[in-house]
């Protein structure tokens, strides 16, 4: 049994037309990502990592090229169809968490369920609570973002990303705002999700962080410069155990 390609990019370009100048953010990206991979996208600032991730996340159309997601040609879809794909197949995790303020963790996690058109969900709150329990925040479901630490907020965001059981999680510098210990906790969650079969694609600046993925793609000037596979990725849980115990 061959693993199917979740993502298949052919000659993807992206040009931002700002009026005065045209910014060529992507200049022909070819990439295939299989189900169950854990990929890190690295590269200097401005090389098009976020642009690529936005296209993968069906938030934006490429200027040219073809993008198949589970065999579906995303570049031909309209706004609503893209929204439905984002809701059902993709979970987003952002560097700045992007939680709704003045809203409990539970209600935050609930948001993707509210926009779920595929099924009628009667146990939304239970599902949200389950997702929060999985990321270790079962006790904090009624906390507001401003009552949570950065790491905890990011865990709420991860719970939100996985509540609709997507097959793909996209994270743009998810550990960018976190200290190393908290980063490890987040990475452990991603590795856990990945072990359960979720494909994870993560943009990061830190080579250390990339060591916890299975495949590293390096970008330069809107193109893929090189890529490498890690035969034995580091295990975040193990690293966490090595750290001296700390009060949370």
């Amino acid at each position: 049994m061959t693993t199917p390609a979740v993502i298949s990019l052919t000659d993807i370009t992206k040009v931002y037309d700002t009026g005065e100048i045209q910014v060529h953010a992507l200049r022909g990206v070819n990439l295939e990502i299989l189900s169950g991979e854990f990929v890190a996208i690295m590269g200097a600032s401005g090389t098009g990592k976020s642009t690529l991730l936005n296209i993968l996340g069906c938030l934006d159309h490429p200027t040219e090229g073809s993008f198949l997601l589970d065999g579906v040609p995303v570049h031909t879809l309209n706004r609503d169809q893209m929204a439905d794909i984002r809701n059902s197949k993709i979970g987003f995790v952002f560097q700045s968490f992007n939680l709704l303020q003045r809203t409990t963790a539970q209600e935050n996690v609930l948001v993707p369920l509210l926009y779920n058109r595929r099924e009628k969900i009667d146990d939304m709150k239970e599902r949200a609570t389950t997702a929060l329990t999985r990321v270790g925040l079962g006790e904090r479901i009624f906390s507001h973002p401003n009552q949570l630490s950065g790491g905890q907020q990011q865990r709420v965001a991860i719970a939100r990303a996985m509540v609709n059981k997507p097959s793909l999680i996209l994270a743009d510098e998810p550990t960018g705002n976190l200290d190393s210990r908290t980063s490890l906790e987040i990475l452990a969650l991603f590795q856990d999700l990945n072990r359960q079969g979720v494909t994870v694609i993560m943009v990061t600046h830190e080579p250390d962080v990339a060591q916890y993925t299975k495949r590293i793609i390096e970008m330069k000037d809107g193109r893929i410069l090189r890529e490498s596979r890690l035969s034995v990725p580091r295990d975040a849980d193990e690293e966490l155990r090595k750290l001296p115990a700390e009060e949370e």
């Binding site: 706004r79 609503d80 929204a83 984002r86 809701n87 926009y115």
Partner: protein, 405 residues
Amino acid sequence: MRSANLFRIAYQSIIKHKMRTLLTMLGIIIGVGAVIVMVAIGQGAQASIQGQINSLGTNLVLVFPGVFRQAGVSMGGGSFTRLSFDDVEKLKRESTKLTGISPVVRTGAQVIGGISNWSTSVYGVSTDYLSIREWPLSSGEFFTEGDVRSQTKVCILGQTLVKNLFPDNDPVGQQVRIRNVPFKVIGVLSEKGQNSMGMDQDDIVLAPSSTVFYRLSGSRFISQILTSAASTAEIPAAQEEIRTILRESHKINEGEDDDFTVRNQTELASTAEETTRVMTILLASIASISLLVGGIGIMNIMLVSVTERTREIGVRMALGARSRDILVQFLVEAVVISIVGGLIGIVLGVGATLVVGAVTSWTTVIVPSTLFVSVGFSAMVGIFFGLYPAKKASDLNPIEALRYE
């Protein structure tokens, strides 16, 4: 998306911004409240003027000197002709369609008697007056044709005079002095109450027209002639008859205008109705402006809120909200704010109406349809003024919204 989810989203956002919501609502609350109070006052005026005209007598036909124009009384071109006793006599002699005829000679006078004195209006009328006005006596009796002929100094008191001059004993048979002329009280009118202007209709003394005309100085003309037709159906014929007789009496040539005005109750009512309707519309329009301002307030706050929440909109889109979901979210917010504001406005408006009614003694009428219309109207205000901001929100590009600082 399921509507339950939709309301959940809007509800959350409203709850999250209590102060902002309240301030936004305030415009609608005041607008709807003002409309309700104003319409209630207008309708009240209409109803009470109507009631007052009805209380004049059902088949009443009135004759005034001069010509009524729309804006009020104006003299018909030439000199002002007064109504005279000759006119009244001629009507009595020649009319076939009138069941009652009474001149009204009116004067203000001080009445001394019983335990006190009292300034009031004295009406000199004929024996037909009570039947024309459908106004029974509560005790005693009315004067007779003989009293009118011989200018007898007898009078009938309204309830207000009874209360003030004879609070403890029956005035019938007592003496009073009207402008220092002694009169014998022979009867008492039943109570009629206040009219819409707060005027006390019981503050009245009736006496034979001839007595008032000749024995009380300063009242030497007939201000109107009251008549009644046999039935409502006969009113137009009666009016025509009065015109013919009076034109003859006033020697008006063919082609010349009347120098008097004949009005039936329905005409009086419709003139009054027209006036009060215009007043109601005017009041309601002024109040509507505040509702409009409230609507603009909603739009203003919604626009600010869309900008403020650009990032939230981006996040929602990233999580799978379609453009329409965002549009509907903001629309529902606007509509819920305006409907809830409208409902609060109704409660306050009705309350304020009751207070106004109690404090001013104006009649106010709350028509239930006004309430439904106000809620419907505020919902429309919400949709109308919420649409633009909602459209703006839903048209946002998810990426740009997410990047928004």
